[in-house]
């Protein structure tokens, strides 16, 4: 027995020694890394992001590859000819001005003094080479831009399009429009841009290492090094920010916001045009009834959804665009939450609860709505539950199906009534995009077969209108028409937020969701 005790004591001593050794190692390594930071006094910024990954088609930072331009522009590697201001209006960036010579011809003047991060000057020839490479390899860009010819003369670039493109300048602000030095190539998905940061290392879906662009043309870059880390787990993102592993976070879950509502952290948020909305299926006999659609619009408590379920981190929707757009917000009107009026309307239309089960019927048909949505946007399941609860009080039987396989269901015209989805309605600052994709007879996302002669006519008018103000006016009319038809119910808009440590400055959320790292980014 004495021998056993000795053996056990030996084993335990070994285990303890190993544990102590591991603990000491950990502490000493942490101490070392901290001292390294202080000794060479470099400012290093670490950013945790849920979106920088191959699943979002951001496998690298080459703007000519799928959606990788988002990473290129967000992390300050690339810049576009023009950029959006807070009202999503165009302002100069790499280019100083543009002129719409005729319906098909655009003249763009590139700023003097702009350089790529390798020190090479940016002139019209470099931009021409970049755009030509873009349309050669990027199908979406080629379709959007419809470029016929490009001519370069000094700092002046002349673009001719195949068809009239009133929104050409807006499309050039899409992240795929980042000006890069195509002569440098794109080894490992790394490109040379004109932005304040230069990429030194990229591991897809894991991290991106950046250093300041010593040749930056637009001011002194305050941060020496930056690192973007892909963190897909929401809890890990929150704990990493609390622990100080990262200095700022993008994509924090709403539920974790209260952890950071104190003096140690700063929120930067802005309304975006990512709308959470319901689309009606006109193939459904129940939905074809105008009164049912109107009652649905009156039965969704948008304010309750935003203020309670989203903890106030969102904006109540009226039309297709939020109120930071001149053609958005309350320039249009729609049904407000009014359950009593909805009940009255349904009663008058013959929808009554004859069997006392709380659900209305008409001609032997119950007021059942098959509500389809998907879970990958955290707001959509909450919206479904909120709508189910409030609409039940009116006499609707809402059957929820929130599934990742929603695409298959919605493709069948007779398997659903309402489809709730999220969509960026005005990503390039022009309203036509939403209508083109959702509201016209040939729209790829007109899932419910909505048709309106007025909308078709207004779309034709918009396509022939170049003046931004006039396009906005048409957009107002088009929104009002789809709202009057109750073909869509716009419930809320996303408030895009980033959370930073209090000592971080210069990281400001932008309505476009494009611009994050700038020369002004700093750690104090």
């Amino acid at each position: 027995m004495k021998g056993l005790k000795k053996s056990v004591a030996f084993v335990m001593a070994m285990a303890l020694t190993m544990a102590t050794f591991t603990g000491c190692g950990a502490k000493s390594e942490t101490a070392t890394s901290q001292s390294e930071v202080s000794s060479d006094a470099k400012k290093t910024f670490t950013f945790g992001d849920t979106t920088f990954n191959a699943e979002n088609e951001e496998a690298n930072i080459d703007p000519h590859d799928t959606y990788c331009g988002w990473a290129c522009i967000r992390y300050g590697i690339g810049e576009t000819l023009f950029k959006f201001n807070d009202n999503m209006e165009l302002e100069p960036w790499v280019a100083e001005s543009f002129e719409n010579v005729d319906e098909l011809t655009w003249k763009i003047v590139i700023k003097d003094g702009v350089t790529f991060s390798n020190g090479k000057a940016v002139d019209a020839a470099a931009v021409k080479a970049c755009i030509e490479d873009l349309v050669a390899v990027h199908e979406r860009a080629a379709g959007d831009l419809a470029i016929d010819t490009i001519e370069a003369d000094g700092q002046t670039l002349t673009i001719k399009t195949q068809t009239p493109k009133p929104t050409l300048m807006n499309y050039l602000c899409d992240p795929y429009g980042c000006v890069i030095d195509v002569e440098e190539g794109n080894a490992d998905g790394i490109v040379v841009g004109t932005g304040p940061f230069v990429c030194t290392e990229l591991v897809t879906s894991d991290h991106l290492n950046l250093v300041k662009n010593e040749n930056y043309w637009n001011g002194e870059v305050k941060i020496d090094e930056a690192k973007v880390i892909t963190i897909s787990d929401g809890d890990t993102l929150a704990l990493a920010l609390q622990n100080g592993d990262i200095d700022a976070a993008y994509g924090m879950a709403y539920a974790n916001y209260p952890l950071f509502e104190n003096d140690e952290y700063t929120f930067t948020g802005t309304p975006t045009s990512r709308a959470f909305f319901c689309q009606m299926n006109y193939n459904s006999p129940v939905i074809k009834d105008d009164v049912v659609r109107k009652a649905l619009a009156m039965g969704i408590d948008k304010e309750g959804f935003v203020n309670t379920l989203l903890n106030g981190y969102g904006y109540v929707g009226v039309g297709a665009f939020p109120d930071n757009f001149s053609f958005g917000g309350d320039v249009v009107t729609t049904e407000s939450y009014d359950p009593e009026k909805a009940k009255t309307l349904l009663e008058e239309a013959g929808w009554v609860d004859t069997d006392g089960d709380g659900i209305r019927e008409k001609d032997g048909q119950t007021l059942t709505i098959r509500w389809i949505s998907y879970p990958s946007r955290q707001e959509l399941p909450l919206l479904a539950e909120s709508a189910q609860a409030t609409l039940k009080d009116i006499g609707f039987d809402i059957q929820l199906n929130v599934t990742a396989d929603h695409g298959t269901i919605v493709a069948e015209k007779d398997t659903w009534d309402v489809y709730a989805a999220a969509f960026v309605t005005c990503g390039i600052g022009d309203p036509m995009y939403f209508f083109t994709t959702h509201c016209l007879d040939d729209s790829s996302k007109n899932r419910g077969g909505y048709h309106s002669d007025e909308i078709q006519a207004l779309a034709d008018e918009m396509n022939a209108t170049f003046d931004a103000g006039a396009r906005g006016d048409i957009a107002v009319k088009m929104q009002q028409q789809i709202l009057d038809d109750n073909a869509f119910i716009f419930c809320s808009f996303l408030r895009m937020s980033m959370i930073t440590k209090a000592n971080v400055t210069g990281l400001v959320a932008h309505p476009s969701d494009y611009y994050e790292f700038t020369a002004d980014l700093d750690i104090n």
Binding site: M1, V8, A54, V203, I231, D235, Q242, T437
Partner: protein, 314 residues
Amino acid sequence: MKYSIKRIIQLIPILIAITFLSFAMMRLAGSDVVEQKMLNTGQVVSEAQLEAAKAELGLDKPFLVQYCVWLGNLLHGDMGVSYVSGKDVFETFISKLPATLFLTVTSILLTIVISIPLGIISAVYKNKFWDYLIRFISFIGNSMPNFFVSLVLMYLLGIRLGLFPIISKDMSITSVAMPTFTLAIAMSAKYLRQVRATVLDELSKDYIMGAKSRGVKFSVILWKSVMRESLVTIITLLALSIGSLLGGTAIVESIFMWDGVGKMAVDAINMRDYPIIQAYVMWMAIIYVTVNLITDLSYRLLDPRIRLEDARDE
């Protein structure tokens, strides 16, 4: 040797069957990588573009054709490229392997260090204070799922004590510590009970009484006889764990941002990235067959009775 070769040959039909089944099951999932990408990015594409993208990846062909093309390429040493990242599958896989191997080694070592001594103590002090305490702790360890242990450790060791980083920044002891603790806690809780049961079983045998009555020291009985007998059971358990750890631990790897094959596999499944999934499935099949082979061989080494039995059968 003959036995080993026989087992390795058995691997071939197993691999073909597994890859065929996994290929078939992924096709039953309902969508493909083109649709998943469209969904994730919210892009609007026409039906023609969708079909063209599928045709480019060969997804428009019948299932059997797709499988045969993949198998044909594999037999020529080409595992293809990822549908999502566009990178070579073999290179992607190999780049993730060191992290998983490192985590496997540290987790197994820590599990051995915790579970064997505690299991022996628990058995030797059966139904006494130490036994009850150890069993209680193992009960708690068994009850807690990995993701919960991860979050508790992150909070305690990362936030409160500031000992370790929350996210794994590199392949260092500091970075691997918390994922290792998470895995070792769950495995140790399970194994120390197995060790206890095995040791108790051995201690109750007659030869132990005989040895004791002949005055052999208890420590000698424990280490030379009991542990040697118990090793067969313990090695079987550890082999199974090594197998599953080498396949990556998706939840732990995702939570701690440990860039291993488990995280890669989950990402690939979410995106229906078939070439990566097939590589992963093959890797898992190879691991299990190899680990089982090594385990069988180690039995023959450790237990002469198995060697003799096999010799008699042959």
